[in-house]
């Protein structure tokens, strides 16, 4: 029996040794840490790899909030080289966490000023979009109810238990929508009065996927029962694109008065093992090739000027001209207090 112990110990030691030995990467690679919504086509990925001579490894650490939070906990000892997916709502937190090294890619000159939110260039913009209330056209037609036009419409009779929202503590669309109500109602008591009046009529989920694919009636999965959801302004284009057949009208529509602007940024993680490759990757994220692929892989809009948009976007989801916004500084100063106010108002 003593021998059994010795054998067991030896095996354990061997495994530990093997794991440590195996951890060293064989080929030169660059690691992109991002959220679950990041997408890149195989050919675009291959283009980067050929052009840079680096293998691109992608780590998707949950939704945008979770991925950033995880990066913050490993600040200085990052799990990769580049982080993509900080949005304007979380910008101040990311910069405050000393997560990034500054880098100004040459292509930044091609980007519209309005998107360049961090003038120190620890983070550079990659894409933009908007979060809005999205509704199921067919449902409203079938129930002979007027589709919503404003935030206040949710309070009208007949709108009880129709809406799905995401938890702003755990989901970026949820956070953006909460900020939209603040941008609309003002920063006093008014947004919370609004939320306390709709709290019984909204279903709260932890993430966008459950809200859109499991609870919303308008998604192509047709699983959900509720016809209004907090989602992306590009949803009409996405639904048409995925339906795979030509349509004159998208199955879902956007409540334009409720849209909150979102810019997504990327940066080089402080302590990156391959800072050189990281710079190449950021350059690539702003290259024409990657920017042109953004609409049909991630369903948001490129920040690089004069990047052509696909026809389905032009027709069903043209870029939003002036969505609601709050400055990153205002968001940074109040976000946590607003989230806990929201949590106390809606969940408790």
């Amino acid at each position: 029996m003593r021998r059994a112990f010795v054998v067991a110990t030896a095996v354990a030691v061997a495994i530990v040794g093997a794991s440590i030995g195996a951890a060293a990467p064989v080929a030169r690679s660059v690691v992109l840490v991002t959220h679950d919504s990041f997408a890149i086509s195989k050919s675009t990925k291959a283009a980067f790899e050929t052009q840079s001579g680096l293998k691109l490894r992608i780590l998707q650490n949950g939704d945008a909030g979770a991925a950033l939070n995880r990066a913050l906990l490993t600040a200085g000892r990052p799990e990769g080289d580049v982080f993509f997916g900080v949005d304007n709502n979380l910008l101040s937190r990311a910069l405050g966490g000393k997560l990034f090294d500054a880098y100004t890619p040459a292509a930044l000159t091609q980007v519209e000023r309005a998107y360049d939110l961090d003038l120190s260039h620890h983070l550079v913009p990659i894409d933009h979009g908007a979060i809005c209330l999205v509704y199921d056209r067919a449902w409203f037609a079938a129930h002979k109810l007027r589709p919503p036009y404003t935030f206040e419409d949710l309070l009208r009779p007949g709108y009880a238990k129709l809406t799905v929202v995401e938890n702003p503590a755990t989901s970026t669309p949820g956070l953006a929508f909460m900020l939209a109500t603040i941008a609309h109602f003002g920063s006093g008591k008014a947004p919370w009065t609004y939320w306390s009046r709709i709290k019984r009529d909204v279903l709260v989920t932890n993430g966008w996927d459950e809200a859109y694919n499991a609870q919303f009636s308008g998604s192509s999965s047709h699983k959900g029962k509720r016809p209004i959801v907090v989602s992306y302004s590009s949803d009409p284009a996405a639904e048409v694109y995925f339906a795979g057949k030509p349509r004159t009208q998208a199955p879902v529509a956007v409540v334009r008065n409720t849209c909150f602007g979102q810019v997504e940024l990327a940066g080089i993680l402080r302590g990156a093992k391959n800072p050189d490759g990281a710079r190449k990757l950021v350059d690539f994220l702003l290259s024409q090739r990657f920017q042109a692929g953004i609409p049909l892989t991630m369903f948001v809009y490129p920040v690089r000027g004069r990047t052509p948009l696909p026809a389905v976007f032009m027709r069903f989801s043209p870029p939003m001209s002036s969505p609601l916004t709050l400055s990153p500084a205002t968001i940074g100063a109040n976000r946590d207090a607003w989230i806990s106010e929201w949590t106390d108002t809606v969940l408790r």
């Binding site: 029996m1 354990a12 992608i58 998707q60 939070n69 995880r70 799990e79 993430g207 806990s340 949590t343």
Partner: protein, 530 residues
Amino acid sequence: MLLKHKATGTLGRAALVAIPVAFLGLFFVYPLATIFRRGLGGSFPTDVLFDRGTLHIVWFTIWQATASTALTLAAGLPLAWATARVAFRGRGLVRALVVVPFVLPTVVVATAFLALLPESMQRGVVPILLAHVFFNVAVVVRVVGGYWARLDPSLWDAAATLGASPSRRFRELTLPALRPALAAASALTFLFCFTSFGVIVILGGPRFATLEVDIYDLATQTFDLRAAAALSLLQLAAVGAIVAVSSSLEARAGARLPLAVEQLAARRARDWERPALVATLAVAAVGFGLPLAALIERSFATANGAGLAFYRALGRDTPSLLVAPWRAVEYSLAYAAAATGIALVVGALAAAAFASQRGSRWLDTAVMLPLGASAVMLGYGFVIAFDTSPLDFRDAVWIVPVVQALVAAPFVVRILTPAMRGIDPRLREAAAVLGAPPARVRREIDLPLVLRPLGVAAGLAFAIALGEFGATVFLARSDRPTLPVAIFRFLERPGATNQGTAAALCVVLMAVTVLAVGIADRLTSRRGAF
């Protein structure tokens, strides 16, 4: 020379105490102190503690722990009765199987209930309570059943001859007699449910959070260090209070009845007991079997019928991790082996110090504290305390085994201390007189005599480390994930493939855990009877 001999003895004993004390100081006190220092900075967090949201969470934490405990007692007592008082074929097997859920990782059990319940019931109070009952029935069966089995049956015979009906005997004899065991089992169950994390973070959904889960949310999502520190303080105080109340309850639970040899107490079921026995065993089989069966079924249920697709996916690269998922098996085993080693060394030294020294109760408390300080608190403390050079250990390979060892060590101490105290000091003296130097005495006398409890402790520590989630989730990195962390990463991501992969990983983790505990049990029980 004798003086020198004495001096080395004292030195040796000092080293014995110094190692666990240094370990706890660096890896327990320092991280926790860092949370409180940075989070509270000397001001008492009255605002957080009396916040409406906090009160709501405290209320839910207590409420769900109370309900879970009551349900666990209700579910566990019939099974305790069956395994303790009735002789039937396969009783030993039933007793062994009952312990399996208890050693299963929380992530596995939560995933099993996700697989079992319809989508509308997957998040909320019902699955939380069910999962807690599933875990803790083992505690009731083992603690109450173990005690019940040794109650002298002649008392019940005496009561019967004095004219007491069966129900009267249960009310007036059985219940009062079982009170100490009931108190102990309830306290333990309550404590486990109060500090529950993996189950609630997976099954709770957005509306249901315990203190432990809220600390996790505050630490990883809102980054509210002050609130996280305040709630940690609250959690520490609450757990301390629970432990204090439960030990005084157990002490006051009343006079103990004469205990008989176990075999005497169990007898064949009487006619009226037979249906109760069958029903109890059937309910237990369904209750334990169904979630696990659902989990296994889910792991094979691919889009095109039953198949191995999710298992094959374990070998492929995934964006959820920087390595193929199956590598988590390897890291889990390696980490758990190292954690077991550390927990055994620290735990055995601490146990030896308790066993040999009078008046080292402060050390006793110190080692037991990690039990009360939650795993989430520890993991969070590690991340913020060890984030600056030269103490930046966040990507050190050994940090995960260390935090797992910290979680497992109190259990090791709990098992080894009585075993070591039980060694007759004259055996050591006899060995010394026969020519054995002190080190040899330890090897020839102490070690063989604690080998069996040591094996039990090793098995438990290994199972705890394998399933550890609350602390490891902060520290396991994407290129070196453990199984529970990998499972959680897949569960968090939408889509049937991710959910199926999580289920397959759960089945693997379950198999690894049961195998490990089984081997430890085998290794240690083959030893002669003493």
